[in-house]
Symmetry: C2
Subunit: 383 residues, 2 copies
Amino acid sequence: MSSLEAAERRYRSPSSELAREVLIHGPILRNVLAQRLGLSLATLTRLARPLLDGGLLVEMTEQLDGALGRPAKPLDVRADARQFLGVKLTGDTAVAVTTDLRASEGRRAERPLPSHDLADVVTVIVELARELANEQEFSAIGISVGGQVSDNRVVDRAPFLGWRGVPLADAVEAQLDVPVIVENDVVALAAAEHWFGLGRGFSNFAVITVGAGVGYGLVMHDQVVSTSEAGLGLGGHFPLDPNGPLCFLGHRGCSTAMLTIPSIRAQVEVALARPVTYTEVLELAESGNPVALAVLSAAGTALGRLIAAVANLAMVEHVVLAGEGLGFLAVSRSAMDAAILADRDPDARPLDVVTDASGFISWAQGAAAVAIQRTMDTLATSL
Amino acid sequence: MSSLEAAERRYRSPSSELAREVLIHGPILRNVLAQRLGLSLATLTRLARPLLDGGLLVEMTEQLDGALGRPAKPLDVRADARQFLGVKLTGDTAVAVTTDLRASEGRRAERPLPSHDLADVVTVIVELARELANEQEFSAIGISVGGQVSDNRVVDRAPFLGWRGVPLADAVEAQLDVPVIVENDVVALAAAEHWFGLGRGFSNFAVITVGAGVGYGLVMHDQVVSTSEAGLGLGGHFPLDPNGPLCFLGHRGCSTAMLTIPSIRAQVEVALARPVTYTEVLELAESGNPVALAVLSAAGTALGRLIAAVANLAMVEHVVLAGEGLGFLAVSRSAMDAAILADRDPDARPLDVVTDASGFISWAQGAAAVAIQRTMDTLATSL
DNA sequence: CCAGTTCCTTGCAATATAGAAATAAGACAT
DNA sequence: ATGTCTTATTTCTATATTGCAAGGAACTGG
């Protein structure tokens, strides 16, 4: 409670708010900018000058043909004014990506983790940073992990790494002279979708990820919901099918059992009595194999039920799907849509479900996005 | 979307914020007040003076024994400085309650609705206002209905009343010279719990109501979630038990089928082959009747599953239960707790589930609370 | 080249705010 | 009783921020 309120009360200078708004809402007319920020045009001029001089913002010279009067020069951020590094840690690898201020991907690299020792992990992160560095320094490094994170610095609990109370940010900052921000992976992804991705412009939406596990994040009132519970993976074992298979925790038909890559593979392997890859499962389904079709169709239905439950209980109208385990939608999107419809009030507006097809790299971009967000608060004033 | 942003950008003067903070956080030291509002003590003095002179705020002379130095005089609102009327409309009655600034109950009255015609309903509301009036004028009237409301003025859709696009606020204001605020009933109740009830001090919590139906409201980041979907009763038909009875819409084991008063009565009546009241069902269960016990225990389990689903997907740690249909918890609270535990991550903090026992009248109080909230924005500045 | 239009900036007055100093209100020791 | 100590609150004043209104600036079309 108190920490949440403290976070909420984090002071943001008018300059920061301006920079933020321009960053999120692309090239934007000073007119609408002034309205959004509740400031006069005069104040806007004064606030924008140091940011323009400092090179963080630029004026576009976009000609709207046929417009009368002096043409407007919308403000935009110079996206390459800063460079960020995003790192996603899994149980066995670290994936890194460089991004500009808009979190769009630059160079990427990946390294296996030799162990789960903090020192080893830090070494890998430092090596990735060195490998991807160019003449431009990183303004900040974002690191995302599956698990609970406190204060954007300490990993309280990360099952895949076996960590509890590991001061990751301090350890990395000791090696690299760059601010480090640590965040839960789903929270980071939700933040990225909110500012830069498919959630741009929505005040309320949910993010559901499907891959090795099922992740769930929420943006409400234009803020990512980031309670201590957010890192627990609460959408991971949501009951979806009373007749479904068991997950490794013994839940029958939970989201993990119905949707994840390992579980889908396992179901098909058991039925076919031979090993198959996830890609093979998708190909089998395309070519009409009944086992693959049954498993993937059940996954589609389960995902639809999950989406409907999320929309009903979190009261969102928009859902962003992400992660590398969404391939089954090619086959069973209609099953998903039908399940959503069945569980929604017929008077409710139809749900807007969009798919982020960028796959695994979006996790690392999410980490970078958090670094960008935290940096924006200080960037503007430090110019 | 745009309306939401407009609402968010509603300007609040520092005075209003001050009054608000004092109203919500009871008697409060100027010290902590200054910190909460991010203002200096000097500014606080300047802001508080007109409110103290106007009688809206008072200084308490509470002595903390053993304290050194000049004793502090915490600020508090004079709760009886204003009077409000809250009206809850159902399909057949209007229930009204007067409240002070803290939404605590004064006098109450109830009248049947002769019809669903707007004119008739307005007449009933006006009569209730006249009946409950005293020498002090109502600062505002809040009206809550089950259904969708737009702009706090128009009832877009209210199934129980058969209304679509009814300008209720205008109609009542035409008869009484008092500002009228209309709101969805669950949104209003959530707002009341947030400012004045069991949700006080929590930034995120959910409200689940059980009565003739099942209602669901959400407070996130210290704001009630009030999208157009909020009025649809999205928690009303949430699937909870694949083997449960059917609701009137044909959902098997949904929250309505498992939890509402009519459905519980119906289940017991069918099994016993005779009519029973809800109170009788509770008494039967207390005295060990197996049918009543089975139905109520299933209700407890279903409620537990609903609570767990809400906590998992809305990411809240606190749940407030309200409404007149919670009697079964006397018998099946343990079933509820067990179901919650089963569906929660074992590493998650235990859920805080509290019960608002004030029954049906809290609906009308909720309506008053919304009137209070909307009025607070202008009260301070109008002094 | 000039009027018309819209956009952006500058000068100035009003307002709001924080910090420092002053005052107030008690407790406690003498 | 009186003075001192401590903390709370207010007053005073310098500073900063803001919006308004007036004044360029940039472009179109006659």
